[in-house]
Amino acid sequence: MTDAAAHPDADEGRPDERLAYRGVFTRMLVRPEIGAVIGSAAIWLFFWAVSEQFGTAGGLSGVLDVSATLGIMAVAVALLMIGGEFDLSSGAATGALGIVTILLVKDIGELGGAGLNLFIAIPLSFVVAMALGWYNGTVVERTGLPSFIVTLATFFVLRGFKLGFSKLTIDNISVGRIDEGRGFDFWHPIFAGVWNRNEHVWDTRDVVYTIGILLGLALFVLAVYEGNYLRKKQMNPAGLLMFAGGLAGTGAGVVLMHFTDGISNDVLSGAVIAGSMILGLIGVALWRYEPITDDNSIHLDSRVLELAGLGIVVIVVGVVCALVVDVDGQQTILDRLPAGVEWLITVAAFALAGAIAWRRRSGGWAAGSEQWTVLFQAVRAGLVGAVSILAFMFMTTEQGLRAILFVGLSTTGLILLAMAALRARKSSPLSGSLILALNSLVIAALALFIQAESGHPKFRTEIFSVMMFGAVLVLAWALVSSRCQQRKAADHDADRLSTLLSAAGLVAVLVGLISRLLWTTTAENDSGVAFASFRMSILWFIAVTAVATFVLGRTKFGSWIFAVGGNKEAARQVGVPAAKTKTQLFMIVSGAAWLVGLLLAFRLQTLQSGTGNGLEFEYIIAAVVGGTALTGGYGSVLGAAIGAFIMAMSKQGIGLALWNSDWRFAFLGVILLGAVMANNFIKAKAEAVR
C-alpha cells in the first residue's frame, strides 16, 4: 500500500504533485464553449463598428429576440447531439405543434378547429409533443436505424401533415387567430408578453454602467493576478492601503466625468481614473505577491528589437496611410487609377506567379511533362491572383481602403509588439515589461490618433475610451509582472479565490450591461435611439439554458447523456438505461419544439404551414458552433446558447448594417466553418496541455 492509500483523506482537495500546474488561461481554454465566447465577442465588435443601431439597447433586444427561439431549440438539440443522435424533424415540429394548438382552440365554424379552451389545448398539445418525441426515440431504438434517417422521415411526414391537415380542416395554409381561443388573455403574457423599457428614464445609468464595466474588468485582472502570481507569506498592509486609495480615486474619477461638462474636465477625470487604477493594481501586487528575487536585469536580444521595431514601423505606415488616403472618397480604387492599370496588374500577377512556379521547380525545363506542370501552375496562380486583386480594387472604395489599411496595419503592428514582449519575457520579466510598457504607449497613441482623426462619434468616444482603458491595463500589467513572482505550482485557496473574483467580475459587468439595456437617459429619449422592447421568449430562453446546464453538468441524467453518446455499450453494461435515456432526449427536443411553437403562435397569432421547416439545420449549426461534437459524447449547453446568439447576431446584424440580406447565408457558412475550425484548434491545444 502506498502512502496515499494509508491517508486517503490527507490528499483531498490538494492537487497531485505530478500534475503540472496549468495557468489560468490554459484552464479556460479547456472548456468546450470557449470558441463560441470568443467568436461572439468578435462578431459583436464587428457589427457594432459597422452599424449605427447594433450596439444600442434596441438593436440588442432584437438580437436577443431572434436568438431566443433559435436558442431554446439549439439547447435541446445540443443535449440530443451529446447523446449521440440527431433530430431533423425538430424544425418542422415547432410549426406543427403551434398549428396543432391553434387548431385545437379555433371555433367550430363552417370549417375549423376543435373549439377547446386554451387551458385544455395547451396541455393537450404538450401530450402530442411528448408522443412525437417518444415515437422518434422508440423507432430509432427499436429499429437500430440511424436517427438521421428516422427523423428525416418524420420531418417529411410532419411537413405533409401540416399542409394537408390545415387545408383539410380550415382550407387554408395559414392557420390563424389563436386570439379567438378562450383563455387567451391568461396565456398571452406568459408566452408573448412584451416589456417596453422606453419610458424608464434613469439619468445616472451611465455612471452605473461605467462603474460596473470598470469594476468588472478590474476584478478580472485581480482574478488573473491571483491565479498567476505567488502569494506572500506575510501580507503588506501598505499595499492594501494603496489599493483602497486607487479604488476610491477611480470611483471619484468616474463620478467627476459624469457630473461635469467640458473637454478639460474629461481629460482631467480620465487622467484621475487611469492614475488611480494603476495605483490600485500596483497596490494589490505589493500587498499580496512575492517579489522577484533572482536576477532581473534587462536583456533585449536582436530578435526582440527587430520585432518591436518592425511593429512600430508597421503602425506608423498604417497611420501615414490613414492620413494620406482621402477620408470621404467614395470612388472605387480602380476608378481612381489611370486607365490600363488593370492590364498592368494582370500581367504583373502572371509574371510573379510564373517566377514563383519556376523557382519551386529547381530542375527547370528538364523533363517534358515538367514544363507543362510549371506552366499550368503559373497560369492558375496568375489567374487567381489577378482576379482577386482586381476584384478587391473594384469593390473597395478609397474610404474602405483607408479603413482596411489602417486597421490591418495597426493590428499587425500590435501583434508584432506583443510577440516581442512574449519573447523578451523569456529572458527576464523586466525586459518583457519594458516592451509591454511600449505596447501600452503605442495603444494610447493610436487611441489619441483615432480620436483626432475619426469623423464618427462612436469611434471618437467609445473606441477611444476602450483603447485608453486597454492601454492602462497593459501598463499596470507591465509594472506588476516586472516585480512579482509567477506561480509555478497549484494553490487550492488561490485558485478558489481567483474563480470567485472572476465570477464577481462577471456579475459587475452584467449589472453594468443590464442597466444600460433596461434604462434610458433623457438624452437618449430626446434623440429617439433608445427603442427597446423585450419579449417573454428571452426569459424562457434563459430559463431553458439554465435548467439544461444544471441537468447536463450536475445530475445523473446529465452523466448518462454523455455516456450514451460517448460509448453506448459501456453505458449499458454498467446499468445505464441507454434506450430510455435516448428516448427521453428525443422527448426533450420535442418538448422544446412545443414551447417554441407556442411562443411563435402567441406572438404571430397566425402560423404558416411552412413555419419552422428547414430550421433544424440552424439548430444543429448553433450547437456545433458552440462546441458540441457531431459524433456525440462531447459538448456544452451554454455553448449552444452562445452559438444561437452568434447566429442571431449575424442574421440581425446584416439587416442593421443596411447590407443586402441575401448575403446572410454566405455569412452563416463562413461563421460555421470558422467556428468549427477554431473549436478544433483550441481543443487540440487544450488536449496537448493536458
Binding site: 500500500m1 502506498t2 496515499a4 492509500a5 486517503p8 483523506d9 490528499d11 483531498e12 492537487p15 497531485d16 505530478r18 500534475l19 444544471f550 450536475r554 445530475t555 445523473k556 446529465g558 452523466s559 448518462w560 454523455f562 455516456a563 460517448g566 460509448n567 455499450e569 459501456a570 453505458a571 453494461q573 454498467v574 446499468g575 445505464v576 459524447g633 462531447y634 488536449e687 493536458r690
Partner: protein, 262 residues
C-alpha cells in the same frame, strides 16, 4: 472454506453447436481462478454464463450455495458477480470519477431537484483507486487520456467498490505491454487480498501462473482439466493449453528451422 462459485459439468449448446462442455471448477473468496485457453476454446462462452449474459444448457452453476440460472447481467451484478470486459466498458471522453460512478451516481436532494454529489464522488473515486494501489492524478481527467493499465484499474476498482464478490476479468492483459501487464497483475493480486474471488481469463500462461491459485484449461470447448497450483508447473500448463503434443511438435520444428539457418 466455502466455495463462492461451484461449476459442475457445465455446458452450453447453440443449436447443434457445442460451445462448451464438461466444465468443472470452483472459485473461492480470496483466490484467483485462471481460465486458460487458446482462441476459440470457449472462454467467452464461459464468461457469458458466469456473468449472466447467457444461461447454461447443462450442468449446475452454484453461487454461494444456491443454484442459479441468470438471464441478465443485471441479475448477476446484483448478486455480486461483476465482469470487466476486454473493451473496458469505459466512456473515453468522460472524466474518471463520472466513469467510476456511471449508472450509480451518489446524489443530494430529492426529485425533481436532485443533483450529483460531485465532491463525494470525486473523493471516493480517488480513495478507492488509492486502495487498489493506484494514485490517480486528477479524477477530472478524461478516461481516454489514461494508459491501458490505468483504465483497467478504474474498471476493477469500480467493480470492487460496488460490492462485487466475484470479479471476472476478460483478457485484461491482452492489449497491454509487458510493464502494463505487470501493473494489472498486481491489481488482480490486490483484489484477491481484499477477499474477492477473481476469475482471470487469459491466453497467456506466463501471466496466469504467477497470480493463479487454480487453473481451468479449455480447448475446443472442452475442459482439459482443473488443477490447483501445487499440482501443475508453468511448462505443463503451457503444454496443456496448446494441446500438448502439438506444441512439442511445433517446438521441435522451430528448433530445426533455427539451427538450419544458423
Amino acid at each position: 472454506m466455502s466455495n463462492l462459485i461451484e461449476l459442475d459439468n457445465v455446458g452450453k449448446f447453440y443449436g447443434n453447436i457445442i460451445a462448451l462442455k464438461g466444465v468443472t471448477t470452483t472459485v473461492n473468496a480470496g483466490e484467483v481462478t485462471c481460465v486458460l485457453g487458446d482462441n476459440g476454446a470457449g472462454k467467452s462462452t464461459l464468461i457469458k454464463i458466469l456473468s449472466g449474459v447467457h444461461d447454461h444448457s447443462e450442468g449446475t452453476y452454484v453461487f454461494e450455495g444456491e443454484e442459479c440460472a441468470f438471464t441478465s447481467p443485471r441479475q448477476a451484478l446484483d448478486r455480486g458477480i461483476a465482469a470487466v470486459y476486454q473493451d473496458l466498458a469505459m466512456v473515453p471522453l468522460m472524466s474518471v470519477w463520472r466513469n467510476f460512478f456511471l449508472g450509480a451516481e451518489p446524489t443530494i436532494g430529492r426529485w425533481p431537484i436532485r443533483w450529483v454529489n460531485k465532491t463525494k464522488a470525486k473523493s471516493i473515486a480517488k480513495e478507492e483507486m488509492a486502495k487498489m494501489g493506484i494514485d490517480i492524478r486528477d479524477t477530472e481527467q478524461p478516461v481516454g487520456t489514461l494508459s491501458g493499465g490505468e483504465r483497467q484499474s478504474v474498471a476493477i476498482a469500480r467493480a470492487v467498490y460496488f460490492g462485487a464478490k466475484v470479479l471476472i476479468l476478460d483478457e485484461p492483459t491482452s492489449a497491454l505491454g509487458v510493464k502494463q501487464s505487470g501493473v494489472v497483475l498486481r491489481y488482480i493480486v490486490e483484489a484477491r487480498n481484499r477477499g474477492l474471488g477473481v476469475i482471470f481469463i487469459t491466453h497467456n500462461p506466463s501471466h496466469a501462473y504467477p497470480v493463479g491459485d487454480r487453473f481451468l484449461i479449455l480447448n475446443r470447448g472442452h475442459s482439459m482439466g482443473n488443477f490447483a497450483k501445487e499440482d501443475i508447473t508453468l511448462s505443463e500448463l503451457t503444454q496443456l493449453m496448446a494441446g500438448g503434443a502439438e506444441l512439442e511438435q511445433l517446438q521441435h520444428e522451430l528448433e530445426q528451422a533455427v539451427s538450419g539457418r544458423g
